[in-house]
């Protein structure tokens, strides 16, 4: 994927000094800015993990949870990359610090937020030195967690370029514009979201279940063909007769966007 230009970090960062979300419009704007991002919670306290998962889902995030360090390593092998890892330091099987040390080199773009009941400064320093982006001491309030999650996800979003290219197909995220070899392609918001996600994963097969989760924010459901229907809409607009085919069906898997 060519990067046409870099998207500057999103402005108007949430001030951590005032983390309380007030105002429907502010809240909606915040939710929209991170909606559909994938978060993995690693917390051995089942009640707390379940509560955080439920509340973060309410923020339109896609949230998975595991309860030990080894399970976290396995979950991070998923073909769909996570945007944020929220982890406790006191983890069974693989301690949080060791998990951080293993994950950081393999997933340099993954943001990591450490939750700890250890208030000792050296624990936080160790976590930050091991690759954590931020630390939060329990008992924290959910509004503070959300504020920090928003900041980290926005910081991550700054790494995604405004413009992506696959072959002669170019997508401009900020302008929500798509062109192919100078030809403007009009897409509905849903079609744009599909293409945008596929252009973030060029040359990689993307399953129908993944598209359902990422674009529709719905759990994978083999009984629906909605993804196939929309892929056809996108394909009909992107690949005109006589042009090199960019959208490919991977039998038994899903779809892939690639140049030839």
């Amino acid at each position: 994927m060519d990067e046409c230009s870099s998207l500057p970090p999103a402005g108007d960062p949430i001030a951590l000094a005032n983390p309380t979300l007030t105002g429907a419009s502010q809240r909606a704007a915040l939710i929209n800015s991170v909606a559909g991002r994938r978060v993995l919670i690693v917390e051995d306290d089942l009640a707390l993990a379940g509560f955080l998962r439920s509340e973060l889902k309410g923020q339109s995030l896609i949230v998975d949870m595991v309860h030990d360090g080894e399970a976290a390593l396995t979950a991070l092998q998923d073909e769909r990359p996570y945007d944020l890892l929220i982890l406790d330091l006191n983890l069974p099987k693989l301690d949080g610090i060791h998990l951080l040390e293993q994950v950081k080199p393999a997933h340099p773009r993954l943001r990591m937020l450490v939750l700890t009941a250890r208030s000792r400064v050296e624990d936080k320093v160790k976590a930050l030195q091991s690759g954590a982006d931020d630390c939060l001491t329990k008992p924290f309030s959910f509004s503070e967690l959300v504020a920090r999650v928003q900041v980290l996800l926005r910081r991550n979003s700054g790494v995604v370029p405004n413009c992506s290219k696959v072959g002669d197909l170019t997508l401009y995220r900020e302008e929500r514009r798509v062109e192919r070899n100078g030809r403007r392609i009009d897409l509905t918001p849903r079609e744009f979201a599909i293409l945008e996600f596929m252009m973030r994963n060029p040359g990689r097969p993307v399953s129908r279940g993944t598209l359902l989760e990422e674009v529709w924010n719905m759990p994978a459901d083999p009984s629906t063909n909605i993804v196939d229907v929309y892929i056809k809409y996108v394909r009909d607009k992107v690949d005109l007769p006589g042009e090199t085919k960019l959208t490919h069906t991977i039998r038994g898997v899903g779809y892939e966007l690639r140049d030839a």
């Binding site: 707390l48 509560f51 069974p92 099987k93 329990k138 008992p139 309030s141």
Partner: protein, 226 residues
């Protein structure tokens, strides 16, 4: 635990119970870690309850969550308090019957056992035997062990409560037959620490292992000779 059974004699330090001060602080830290979990949920739930425009469904949900976590936090608080008491206040020293102790444990856990489908096998060797110690602390230690053993049980597992006597001592053990392949959480570690403090405060011997779970302790039998 009923602290009213204890004499109010203050001990000099936790070291007097055979636990180092460092270990005592480590146990308290474990307890603080455990209590931070429900407090985090409570803090967030209460903030949500105060948010404007809360629907009745959400109101009920957050109230339910809050009430669960208040109970959990209170249980952990009691446990922490008992840990301090076990290290500060001298244990009672009175005769009690072993069978009565085992019966109390089985009765207390009956409902939980039935709900989880785990079998509790109680084996006591010998006739009616009288132990000497603090009934409340011993019962609490044994209950904690059985509670943990049930919590880590998997289908097909069983928990054995075995009491044997030898050389003027009763050794009581609680063990899982199968390995559970999970690490005990902060609450369970705190319970285990309290069990140990309760037994050591009676100058008893204490041992534990995590997987398969096993906790055992030894306390003296009453000397019936004149």
């Amino acid at each position: 635990m009923s602290s009213g059974m204890h004499s109010e004699t203050q001990q000099e330090s936790p070291v007097a119970n055979g636990l180092g001060v460092g270990r005592f602080y480590a146990d308290v830290a474990e307890g603080l870690h455990a209590i931070a979990q429900p407090l985090t949920i409570l803090r967030s739930s209460v903030a949500s309850l105060a948010a404007p425009g809360l629907t009745p469904v959400h109101l009920r949900r957050y109230l339910h969550i809050s009430s669960q976590q208040v109970e959990r936090a209170c249980d952990l608080f009691d446990c922490l308090q008992d840990l301090v008491i076990a290290n500060q206040v001298e244990a009672a020293r009175a005769p009690f019957e072993l069978g009565e102790l085992l019966e109390a444990i089985a009765e207390d856990r009956k409902t939980r056992l039935e709900a989880s489908g785990v079998k509790l096998k109680v084996v006591a060797t010998g006739e009616r035997q009288w132990m000497v110690g603090d009934f409340a602390r011993t019962r609490q230690a044994l209950l904690a062990a059985v509670r943990i053993a049930i919590a880590v049980s998997s289908p097909g597992d069983s928990v054995e409560l075995l009491a044997t006597s030898c050389n003027g001592l009763v050794e009581i053990s609680v063990s899982n037959r199968l390995a559970h392949r999970r690490t005990l959480n902060s609450s369970e570690h705190l319970s285990l620490a309290l069990a140990e403090a309760n037994i050591r405060s009676q100058q008893g011997e204490f041992r534990s292992a995590e997987d398969p779970f096993r906790m055992s302790f030894a306390l003296p039998l009453q000397d019936l000779d004149p």
